[in-house]
Amino acid sequence: MLSTPALVLAMMLFSLGLVGLLSRRNILYMLLSLEIMLNAASLAFIAGGARWGQVDGEIMFLFILTLAAAEVSVALGIVLQLSYRFHTLDVDAFSEMKG
């Protein structure tokens, strides 16, 4: 079946997303990388669901989808605010939370 290669693919995508998250400094790209990682996770769920013939994988995908939607809407709002306030999207420029 396709489940095993699908899981490998999910892992690859996840790693790519992670690399993107860690290497890019533009916050917009970080968000994109995050989306990739979320998708990789969904893929893993769906592959799992397909492997066992269960519907739970798809349900989890649905939840991840809603999560992603909510996350993106808020995150993009934050991105807008950041750009208004700091006139840059470089995350290394923001360190307001420094302890």
Binding site: L18, L21, L22, R25, I27, M30, V91, D92, F94, S95, E96, M97, K98, G99
Partner: protein
């Protein structure tokens, strides 16, 4: 009529309340009327009650009145109740009678003072508290009066509150006596725990039943009570407060620190005589304390420069005589000396007050002199007082009371011969310091110009007290002289009479009396040689007040103040110097630790999103690695 007993303490209390609440709105005259009136009425009531009491006497030896149950819970039952017997009636009579005279005197003496109403309020409160003390039927109520007089003493010593030294003296008085009070209170705890009662009569009968003579518990309780009495009566080793207490206005010294409050210790021991009888060891200690105090105070009085301090030390010395009498079991003699002492010491203080007032509050006797002609009333009354104190034979009351004490010491089975010699030496010293005062103040040249004689309100008490100081002694005269025993008969209903050693007859009594007489006269004669202006010694300017080491030591009251300062006061101040506390430090370390941890941890909070993401990844990897293993 006797049921009016409760009015006696209530009247001064009412006077206090009226003055405390409305005193500010009264005129001086009204204040004086209320202040003197309340005590005067109390004295009048005492006379009525006393009359009624004597009607039933001696069939009804005591009268009991309960106003309400003060505390009544879980086995502790204490009432606000009065107990009148021969002893308390005597005390009440002295307190209200002399108290009234002193109030009358104060009405003029304090006339110029801004705290006129406050003064009378305190004085009235004092009288109320003192009456509570002597009329109390139980020890807790007695303790209430006991603390109450202490408070009033504190307030009146510090009456002129602007002077910081006066405040210190007041505090010293309160705290030193409070040490005694605490011992007294512990005595109460033991007594209650063991006997389940606090009623004075009941406790004593129970104690007599429960404890054999010389038993440990009796001794402990007696010692604790003795410490309380010693504190209040300014005896060794808690005597240091009394000389400083002279900071208060002179009528206060007369009433509180001479005539009444300081004799509370004497009253307590006399009142609890059954208990003390159970502890012969403690009785012996009382006698020794009395002797030591009377000698110590007499020698100190010899060299003081302040007229009031001389009188203060003399008070300590005379109370020492009373303690001595109590110690040898001569209860009645002690109280007789209390009676005469109250009269002549109040007289002396009031006369001294008159001197001080006429000299614009000059108290140093070296700035006085030659007042004999300017202040004849004062001079004669002072002279009578001094004569009574030194015990000039036959005509003064002091002679009879002191002689009784010395005779008791001589003849008591509880006494020793060396105590008697000590007391005799004391009698000589008494004459010496009394007449040193007379010669210094009233003879010689005038050093400070006096303003003149006091007015009527001050003169009347002086004369009345002078009369009493001369005549009170005739209530009790020894076998060899007149054999009047009114006083001892009267008190024998409340206090046991002392048994004599075998072999004490009239001839030995006469010899003993002769010795007393001679020693008193010797003291006066010595004073005349040393201090009478015109005498050899005096002309050479040799007083005992120049700075030789011994004199300095005597002047400081044998250095007790310095000793206590070194031993207690300074360590205490050292202890209380730092307002921080040690335990708090411990908790502070906790916060310091938390803070340093926080500082270290907060380095990880860079504020960079990518750093957070990376740490999350690393953390996840570590966890995965752990799971994989």
């Amino acid at each position: 009529m006797i049921s009016l007993l409760w009015l006696i303490p209530a009247l001064p209390l009412a006077g206090f309340l009226v003055l405390a609440l409305f005193g500010g709105r009264f005129t001086r005259q009204q204040v004086a009327w209320v202040g003197c009136g309340s005590v005067g009425t109390a004295a009048f009531t005492t006379a009525l009650v006393g009359w009624e009491f004597f009607q039933g006497f001696p069939d009804h030896e005591s009268y009991h009145q309960t106003l309400w149950n003060w505390i009544d819970t879980s086995g502790l039952t204490v009432g606000v109740s009065w107990y009148l017997d021969a002893l308390s009636l005597l005390m009440v009579a002295v307190i209200t009678g002399i108290g009234f005279l002193i109030h009358l005197y104060s009405a003029e003496y304090m006339a110029g003072d801004e705290g006129y109403a406050r003064f009378f309020a305190y004085m009235n409160l004092f009288v109320a508290a003192m009456l509570t003390l002597v009329l109390a039927d139980n020890l807790l109520l007695l303790y209430l009066g006991w603390e109450g007089v202490g408070l009033c003493s504190y307030l009146l010593i510090g009456f002129w509150y602007r002077e910081p030294e006066y405040g210190t003296a007041a505090q010293k008085a309160f705290i030193v006596t409070r040490i005694g009070d605490t011992a007294f209170a512990i005595g109460l705890f033991i007594l209650f725990t063991q006997l389940k009662s606090l009623s004075i009569q009941q406790v004593q009968s129970l104690a007599t039943e429960a404890w054999p003579v010389g038993s440990n518990l009796a001794t402990i309780v007696a010692v604790l009570f003795l410490i309380g009495a010693v504190g209040k009566s300014a005896q060794l080793p808690l005597q240091v407060w009394l000389p400083d207490a002279m900071a208060g206005p002179t009528p206060v010294s007369a009433l509180i620190h001479a005539a009444t409050m300081v004799t509370a210790g004497v009253y307590l021991i006399a009142r609890m005589h059954h208990l003390f009888a159970l502890a012969p060891l403690v009785q012996e200690v009382i006698a020794v304390i009395g002797l030591a105090t009377l000698l110590l105070a007499a020698t100190s009085a010899l060299v003081q420069q302040d007229i009031k301090r001389v009188l203060a030390y003399s008070t300590m010395s005379q109370i020492g005589y009373m303690f001595l009498a109590l110690g040898v079991g001569a209860w009645s003699a002690a109280l007789f000396h209390f009676l005469t002492h109250s009269c002549f010491k109040a007289l002396l203080f009031l006369a001294a007050g008159s001197v001080i007032k006429s000299l614009h509050h000059e108290q140093n006797i070296f700035w006085m002199g030659g007042l004999r002609r300017h202040l004849p009333w004062t001079f004669w009354t002072f002279l009578i007082g001094a004569a009574a104190m030194s015990g000039i034979p036959l005509i003064t009351s002091g002679f009879y009371s002191k002689d009784w004490i010395l005779w008791s010491v001589w003849s008591s089975p509880l006494s020793h011969r060396w105590i008697w010699y000590g007391a005799l030496l004391g009698a000589m010293l008494t004459g010496l310091y009394s007449f040193r005062l007379i010669f210094r103040v009233f003879f010689g040249e005038v050093r400070t110009q006096p303003t003149g004689e006091p007015g009527l309100a001050m003169r009347v008490p002086l004369v009345v007290l002078a009369f009493l100081a001369l005549t009170v002694g005739f209530l009790e005269m020894p076998h060899t002289l007149g054999n009047v025993t009114l006083f001892s008969q009267y008190l024998s209903h409340a206090l046991p009479t002392m048994e004599l050693l075998p072999g004490m007859d009239e001839s030995s009594e006469t010899r003993e009396q002769l010795a007393v007489t001679v020693s008193a006269l010797l003291g006066i004669g010595l004073a005349a040689i040393l201090f009478l202006p015109g005498s050899n010694f005096s002309r050479r300017g040799a007083d005992l007040s120049t700075g030789r080491p011994l004199v300095t030591l005597l002047q400081s009251g044998w250095g007790f103040d310095r000793l206590y300062d070194r031993a207690c006061v300074r360590p205490w101040f050292l202890l209380t110097r730092n307002p921080g506390e040690l335990l708090d430090r411990g908790y502070e370390w906790l916060t310091v630790g938390a803070e340093s941890c926080h500082r270290w941890m907060s380095h990880t909070q860079t504020g960079h999103v990518r750093w957070y993401a990376a740490t999350v990844v690393v953390g996840t990897l570590v966890l995965l690695g752990l799971f994989a293993m």
